[in-house]
């Protein structure tokens, strides 16, 4: 071994036991994080493969590559896979699982066995949904709107819905675990306002998960009951109300948008602080913005239904609340930007993702204002404008945050450094590919192209071809990190405990950390992001 083994402890969580059982029965939050990493990566590429087929089909105005039925199943399963099996779990389950205990100086989560159970529940739900995919698919759209999903669709609604139902419990249990852990297991001196902002956003996310997910679970059961037993919850022919479903669905699914983006905001706070070696500007404002988003986010669901026969006054209230929930997001963007002022600003890969996140999330957030303005929403809702908007939030926001976090903490997770040149290159490719894919969709959406269309009028083709071309670039951008991150596991330079010269408890322990995280329980006497003296030069 080279002399740099001095950085590597003899025993850490990765070599503490070998063999399949040591992984599948582990109770170590770090190993469970890696189990999630493998699973969400798999579902991401399944969902991504469907996106590729969707964009290939839309390269021409006529429906020629796949049949209309297949196309409808593709966008449905793309949405289901990406939303429920990648975007919602990715950051909390992978980065949150790895980091929550370490960031507060704990040995593990409060309920390690429950944590492992959460992963199994997630996998069982995922397998149900995969089963419905390979045995004929689902064609309701990820939104399962009634009465289509309960009386008209002939596809595998029950098994897919059951998969989502089961997976929901994984989110509830993980959220519960995080809440209890953050309340009860902080190291001596780690007060709430000394916690890294990632924990504030993880905490806010967990609250939404615990409070919101049961609502979608109940809604799914109602859909199943109506499909199997022909109860009249949603079917107007037997006295139901089809729009009731939309209220129940969005009561969860709008907060779910914040489940997806709040953790990414937490990651970006960490990336910006470490990338500038500076406290996050306005720490309490950023922390309370997370909680504000979580609370107000529960009260805006009706903005998905401005054209669905909602009363004018209900629309007014949902509109004004939707504008108000934009404020804490704007506050965060301004605070991150201000953090860079007089910082020691890095141009390394994690910071590139943070720049990308702030830029794309800003566009995503601003276009949200178009949709909150009721009179304008009437024209742009259900068109590609909205498709572009939520991809800017979810892909431009959540995935940029996730990838930034994965790069930032990869040396801690794996103990190795990845190839910085390739990482910068792929970050650039992803940024360009993303904008080329989704920016033209704003234009074609305002022109009036409806979403979920298998074929479209020929005058929309040029913009669709641009979008499809962008998607192919974006796809390449996502594949490159797979290669160099795997490569780094074996051939990467040893990272050392603190390759970024960052503060935070996770950087005080070895890379990879020992199973118990810290040799001795840390006693915290400093605030988060306490960069008051020059840091040791970093290895990279």
């Amino acid at each position: 071994m080279p002399s740099s083994t001095v950085f590597a402890p003899p025993r850490h969580y990765l070599n503490d036991g070998y063999g399949i059982k040591s992984w599948l029965l582990t109770r170590d939050h770090k190993r469970i994080a890696l189990l999630y990493l493998a699973a969400v990566t798999f579902f991401f590429f399944v969902g991504g493969a469907m996106a590729v087929l969707i964009r290939l089909e839309l390269a021409t105005p006529v429906g020629d590559l796949v049949s209309d039925e297949t196309y409808n199943k593709l966008f449905t399963m793309h949405g289901v896979m990406m939303v429920f099996f990648f975007l919602i779990p990715a950051i909390p389950s992978v980065l949150g699982n790895f980091l929550v205990p370490i960031m507060i100086g704990a040995k593990d989560l409060a309920f390690p066995k429950l944590n492992l159970a959460s992963w199994y529940i997630y996998m069982i739900g995922g397998l149900f949904t995969l089963y419905s995919l390979v045995t004929g698919g689902l064609d309701t759209g990820w939104t399962f709107y009634t009465p289509f999903s309960t009386i008209a669709s002939t596809s595998n609604v029950i098994s897919a819905a059951l998969g989502i139902f089961i997976t929901g419990f994984s989110g509830i249990l993980t959220g519960l675990n995080f809440i209890v852990t953050i309340h009860r297991m902080r190291a001596p001196g780690m007060t709430w306002f000394r916690m890294p902002l990632f924990l504030w956003s993880t905490y806010a996310t967990s609250l939404i998960n615990v409070l919101g997910t049961p609502v979608i679970a109940i809604t799914i059961l109602l859909v199943a009951a109506e499909r199997i037993f022909h109860f009249g919850f949603f079917n107007p022919a037997v006295g139901g109300d089809p729009v009731l479903f939309q209220h129940l669905f969005w009561f969860y699914s709008h907060p779910a948008v914040y489940i997806m983006v709040l953790p990414a905001m937490g990651v970006v706070s960490e990336l910006v602080a470490a990338g500038c070696r500076k406290p996050v500007f306005g720490y309490p404002f950023v922390a309370f913005a997370s909680l504000g988003i979580a609370v107000i986010g529960f009260l805006v669901w009706g903005h998905h239904m401005f054209v669905a026969g909602e009363s004018v006054y209900a629309a007014l209230i949902f509109s004004v609340l939707s504008f108000i929930v934009a404020i804490p997001s704007a506050v965060k963007v301004f605070n991150w930007t201000a953090t860079m002022y007089k910082g020691a600003v890095s141009w390394e890969t994690p910071m590139l993702y943070a720049y990308g996140f702030i830029g794309l999330f800003t566009i995503g957030g601003l276009t949200g204002l178009f949709l909150a303005a009721i009179g304008l929403d009437v024209h742009v809702t259900d068109t590609y404008f909205i498709v572009a908007h939520f991809h800017y939030i979810m892909v431009g926001g959540t995935i940029m945050g996730y990838l930034g976090g994965l790069h930032y903490w990869w040396p801690k997770i794996s103990g190795r450094l990845y190839n910085e040149g390739l990482a910068k290159l792929s970050a650039g490719i992803i940024f360009v590919g993303f904008n080329l894919t989704f920016f033209p969709q704003f234009v074609v959406g305002y022109l009036g192209m409806p979403r979920r269309y298998h074929a479209y009028p020929p005058e929309f083709q040029v913009l669709n071809v641009l979008s499809s071309a962008g998607a192919s670039i974006l796809g390449v951008g996502y594949l490159i990190p797979m290669v160099y991150l795997m490569w780094s596991l074996r051939y990467g330079k040893l990272a050392g405990a603190n390759p970024w010269g960052a503060v935070g408890l996770e950087w005080t322990t070895t890379s990879p950390p020992p199973t118990e995280n810290f040799a001795v329980t840390p006693i915290v006497t400093w605030n988060a992001y306490d960069y008051d003296s020059p840091v040791e030069g970093h290895v990279a």
Partner: protein
């Protein structure tokens, strides 16, 4: 861009420019803030680029004045957008008093339009320029959504309910109409055109033949063949309420609640008569659920509407 690639939709209604003005304002706000944030990020990233490996940033923790500024200024801006958006929405929600009414029935996967004079169209809607048009819409199966990009207007078309939209076409021409709510296999085939015509041409088109007679005439025939007329008699001697002059007025229900007789109430009273029984009458009417189609319901409604001041069939 090759020719024939529009980047902005055609504007063919009075509402289009109102929506577009709000859109341009929002674009300006968005461009301003996007450039502000991007400009700050790029200039900070360049100006404060880390030059020594051990360098740290200045110990700045925050500033109340800045926090208040970037909370209050966006708040004021979004409230302006809110009020503006709401005023456009109010205009969309409130049709003018005099409108040309057309009934719409959506079904997987076609649009059926019924003019009051009896013309029926599928996936094509003819309307005159310069006159407000109101569409009263329902669905036979799942939720659809009728969308006219050139008019900047859409609304969901919901089974078991009537929803309506209105528009005032300003420019003759042929424009897209789309189904904008996913409704199953041939969702993207549920498309067609709205043909906005010169008023004279429209009159010619309208008189071009309606073999089945007007909607109200069709409703009158149904009213007789379904034997509605045995109980609903104009002379107040029947077992059911007199329908003449009823539509648009309010009735007192058995519960004491007052309700305005609109399309939805007439529809409900035919399909689920016991739900809201008029005061002074027994809940003896049988349901016609499953016996009349959505289109026949519309004919019956139009017949009830026609029984206003004069008990004779109106043509508009």
């Amino acid at each position: 861009m090759p020719p024939g690639t529009p980047l902005f939709p055609e504007s063919a209604s009075t509402m289009a420019s109102r929506v577009d003005n709000l859109y341009f304002f929002l674009l300006a706000v968005s461009i301003f803030f996007s450039l502000l944030i991007a400009g700050l990020i790029v200039s900070f990233a360049v100006k404060f680029h880390r030059r020594r490996a051990e360098q740290v940033g200045a110990q700045i923790h925050g500033g109340m004045a800045l926090e208040l500024t970037w909370t209050i200024v966006p708040f004021v801006i979004v409230m302006v957008i809110f009020v503006w958006g709401a005023s456009v929405y109010f205009a969309m929600a409130r049709p003018p008093d005099e409108t040309l009414n057309v009934y719409v029935v959506g079904k997987q996967w076609m649009w059926k339009f019924q003019h009051l004079d009896g013309q029926r169209e599928i996936n094509e809607l003819h309307v005159p320029v310069g006159r407000p048009v109101k569409l009263i819409m329902t669905s036979e199966d799942v939720i659809h959504d009728l969308f006219f990009p050139a008019f900047r207007i859409k609304a969901d078309v919901i089974p078991g309910r009537y929803t309506s939209i209105w528009f005032h076409p300003t420019k003759a021409g042929r424009y897209h109409l789309f189904c904008a709510e996913y409704c199953g296999t041939k969702h993207s085939g549920m498309v067609g055109s709205v043909v906005v015509m010169d008023p004279n041409e429209f009159q010619t088109w309208l008189s071009g033949g309606s073999p089945e007679g007007s909607l109200a005439e069709g409703g009158a025939k149904l009213f007789a063949s379904l034997a509605c007329n045995t109980c609903h008699r104009p002379d107040a001697q029947g077992r059911g309420p007199v329908l003449e002059g009823l539509f648009g007025n309010s009735v007192t229900l058995q519960s004491g609640e007052k309700i305005t007789v609109d399309e939805a109430y007439v529809r409900e009273s035919i399909l689920n008569p016991a739900a809201k029984v008029a005061g002074g009458f027994q809940p003896i009417m049988p349901t016609f659920q499953g016996l009349v189609t959505e289109e026949q319901l519309l004919e019956l409604i139009e017949y009830v509407k026609s029984l206003q001041a004069l008990p004779q069939v109106q043509t508009r």
